[in-house]
Amino acid sequence: MATETHSEGGLVFHPLDQFIPKPLFGNGDVHWYTPSNLTLWLAILVLCVIGVFVLGSRGRGIIPSRIQSVGELMYGFVYKMIEDVTGKDAVKYFPYIMTMFVFVLFANYLALLPMSYSPTSMIAVTAVLGFGVFIAITVLGFVKHGAAFLGLFWMKDAPGFLRPIIAIIEVISYFVRPVSLSIRLAGNITAGHVVIKVFAGFAALTLASPAAILGITAIYGLEILVAGIQAYVFTILTCVYLKDALHPAH
């Protein structure tokens, strides 16, 4: 491939090439419908979800099997998070939040496999998730509370002259939410993968290779943390925003 033609010239870094979608069949353009490596890894993700949550729990054991207890742990984790953060009345949104959590978590961890493709490093992907959450929550807020939902921006306990200023700040922060949500996730995952790739590029130098490999190992460990934490952060922020929609009064 391209790297080989250049590699004789010394160090070459193409840390961003890993994010290029490549068609699975043939060499054509990547159209919106083309099955690409993104498609492949999303399919693997769905299969993993099926494996853990459907095949893992097919025994329906009172005493769970190992995989079943993994699924149950995630179920309990997200369920409790929604109950604690958003409140008991939000439990009916549990399947949506659980789907999002599982999707982001599995995407993050599958992306850590060598040669894999990471959907959550795509800003378009995380933006769809983030704006999806944002739009859904905003619509839900207006449907549940009508115009009273705007009370979210109007601080009643603030002094009168400050209220409009606070309202402007609140509105801005409200609209920044989906942006920060999606950029945080994509940025974290992209950065980790790029750093690993850069270290891998240094591994081509004989002298630097031990340090580079140590660096890859260290960053990989960090990325394992980041993958879980980002999925958690994404989910818990969704819960917090959902709480605003359900209980807009400050």
Partner: protein
């Protein structure tokens, strides 16, 4: 070569050698592709989770907590039963002890009564024997005294005779009797 194929498949975001120009994530050409497949995968995940996985896990968790509650209740019941059984056992033990003591006391009283009766009987017998023996001894003593008196009379008579005197029997008897009394 890869270069040529990439050139023929040129996207606005790929350079001549197939490398990325800028961040591939930001390439507008690929965004519809990413969004489309994301929506497909999300829909599949949501379908699997909401239709199959989550109801099943919820059912399993509910069943488990139900089983645990039932088992705890059963354990509590068994514990109560065990406590009852222990109380009954203790009571039986106390009863048995009391009964045993009563039996022992009865047996003791019975034995005492028998013993007293036997003792009384034995005392009676001993008293009878003693009386009998006393009578025999008295008889023997009487006999002995009489013999001694006879011997004394005879001896006295012989002595008197040997000393050349004569004495009638009456006088000798009176003398001997007087002496014997002394």
């Amino acid at each position: 070569m890869a270069t040529e194929t990439h050139e023929s498949a040129a996207s606005a975001c790929l350079d001549a050698s197939g490398g990325a120009i800028g961040m591939p994530q930001l390439c507008a050409d690929w965004i519809p592709h990413q969004i489309f497949w994301l929506l497909v995968a999300l829909a599949a995940t949501f379908f699997v989770m909401s239709r199959i996985a989550l109801p099943r896990i919820a059912a399993v968790l509910a069943e488990r907590s139900g089983t645990i509650t039932n088992d705890l209740a059963a354990a509590e019941e068994l514990k109560n039963k065990a406590a009852e059984a222990e109380a009954a056992y203790d009571k039986a033990l106390v009863d048995a002890r009391a009964q045993a003591q009563q039996i022992v006391a009865e047996a003791k009283a019975e034995i005492q009564a028998e013993l007293d009766a036997e003792l009384a009987k034995a005392d009676e017998q001993i008293a009878a024997k003693t009386a009998e023996s006393e009578a025999a001894i008295a008889e023997i003593r009487e006999g002995a005294v009489k013999s001694v008196t006879d011997v004394a009379k005879a001896t006295t008579k012989e002595l008197v005779a040997a000393m050349g005197g004569t004495a009638d029997a009456k006088t000798i008897t009176a003398a001997v009797t007087a002496r014997m009394k002394g």
